[in-house]
Subunit: 115 residues, 2 copies
């Protein structure tokens, strides 16, 4: 089955440890060891997560001597931003309606009090 890139990006991101690894890589490239330390999971588990992120092209792995260096590749996130922004008008609308409702409700309560 061919999986489209957006589906692959979303599936890779749907894990808090993988998102935490990406957040860590915002500070710059890191070795696998650097990435294992902050998490209370085994090196094997981290390697599996890194493999997943690399397959989704969210990170790039290179070899430097014996060490594997991981680097953030933010480009797939641009497609995700494009997708999510198509819903912006809808959540802004929902928030505005909620604000209106709360405002009206407050007015009704205040009017009740002043009587």
């Amino acid at each position: 089955m061919v999986v489209d890139t957006l589906t692959r990006t979303l599936a890779a991101l749907s894990d808090p440890t993988r998102r935490a690894i990406l957040a860590q890589l915002k500070n710059g490239p890191a070795t696998v060891n650097d990435l294992v330390q902050p998490f209370s999971v085994s090196q094997q588990a981290i390697s599996k997560h890194l493999g997943y992120l690399a397959k989704a092209k969210l990170i790039r792995k290179t070899k430097e001597g014996r060490q594997s260096i991981c680097e953030l590749n933010p480009l797939p996130l641009r497609e995700l931003e494009g997708w999510v922004m198509e819903y912006r008008e809808f959540w802004e609308g929902a928030i505005n309606r909620l604000d209106e409702f709360l405002k009206e409700n407050k007015e009704v309560r205040n009017n009740g009090r002043s009587k």
Copy 2:
């Protein structure tokens, strides 16, 4: 296991049919039947996808007589936008570097030609 809301949102979105259902609901609320028609999958499969989306609070389901009406709830997507925007500077940086590289490359080629 408690799953955080962002993980739940991302997992629900990591399926092209579920994203297509959300896109359909941008046009307004729809019955389950309305939502089955455009897709070449069974009503059972669509119902399963709708259950997934409802659990992730990306849709709201209400009963109108015998019919189930589904409505888009865009609010969880706002959290996703907040998350993805933290990476904007990184993809903008990557695109700028790519542009620079292509520009330099073009100049090198043009200089080569004019000799």
